[in-house]
Amino acid sequence: MSNPQQLRYSKEHEWLSAVEDGVATIGITEFAANALGDVVYADLPKVGDTVTAGETCGELESTKSVSDLYSPVTGEVTEANQDVVDDPSLVNSAPFEGGWLFKVRVAEEPKDLLSADEYTEFSGN
């Protein structure tokens, strides 16, 4: 398993893409997806919702459990991934690509986001 170098990571196991035109893409890491098991239901924040760094903004349900989804940044949701809503297994099969969850117009980001190497060390993967 390798965590893409161009992303940044939260300790809640979300990743954040580089910010383009003020908007960043957010998903969960492969480590998190593996820990969850098969994701069967994704409750994602809606377009226009305001999400706050470190606070819950949705949930991911797997065979064995349900987990809160946290936003790694503060801002307004500009898009939720309908493909994941329709086929939640994308979170398992392509957590860093087609399994992205939502996009946020970033108002504020915490200073403690991790680099890929830091996250690899933090998660042990």
């Binding site: 098991g37 098969d38 239901y41 349900e61 065979t63 349900v66 398992n92």
Partner: protein, 371 residues
Amino acid sequence: MSTAPRLTALDALHRSLGATMTDFAGWDMPLRYASERDEHNAVRTRAGLFDLSHMGEITVTGPAAAAFLNFALVGNIGTVAVGRARYTMICAEDGGIMDDLIVYRLGETEYMVVANAGNAQIVLDALTARAEGFDAEVRDDRDAYALLAVQGPESPAILAAVTDADLDGLKYYAGLPGTVAGVPALIARTGYTGEDGFELFVAPEHAEQLWRALTEAGASHGLIPCGLSCRDTLRLEAGMPLYGHELTTALTPFDAGLGRVVKFEKEGDFVGRKALEAAAGHAETAPPRKLVGLVAEGRRVPRAGFSVTAGGEVIGEVTSGAPSPTLGKPIAMAYVDAAHATPGTAGIAVDIRGSHEPYEVVALPFYKRQK
């Protein structure tokens, strides 16, 4: 109490296969190897290989073994023929279910009782206490066996490749001693998945050899290793109860809709008879909550302990719930008030973290294999 989890004889092998492990009843067991949905589907359509070594084996021997088991358990063990097995329960004096069991008759005066891992010590202690006055010996054989299961429609072909035993002659709920992959085994046609399959009781030192032989024989049949996560969804689809969920000490077999396992007509007294007779009468005249199946209209998954509601009132409680790979929808088993227990009952909901999600009451099981 915090003690290190127990490891099965296959622990190193599971880790080498990349299994995600979980603590289950004090044992470190494989939860899944890769995708639990793929594992589930493999058992439904091809075959899966399980390590179930956490199950608790107790051997009962002696001239009065049958009479003793008839007294200690609710079933009529005296009618089980040599080489056959019986699903039964052990109840407390008040009729509460202490565990559900499979009893194998291995010989004229020899039986093996298989208890759930979490109850094995309780069952062992109860059997030991109840054996007083009977010419029968109760032996803790938990460490004497590893238990592997091959489950799924391809399992007879896979097992046939590694044994000369007469599998065609081995009926459902039968067991015979034989040799599998060169090691002595008790071959039982039992399982907990709703599919055809076998459970193989072997000495722990032979477990790895057997696992590897089955893996090799099963490769061309699509057999994959399977963890406890898919075992749970498989048994739930098959409408099979799990102790601690559908079965507890607070419930009698009649409460659980399994009154048929209680055999009042057998000879002699048995532990719990008086309370169970009352429970049987009560179930006839004023049925308590009934165990039903629930199928979701939406996609959110009910979990054990969630409330079942109708018209805003709580009318029951979910005992097991999961996304069903076969149905493609969330399913649950729940105890609900008798007035709402009829299949097709409308207006039922499950309170999923404050949101009342619509559910339909259905007859159990959710899934039945085509024979």
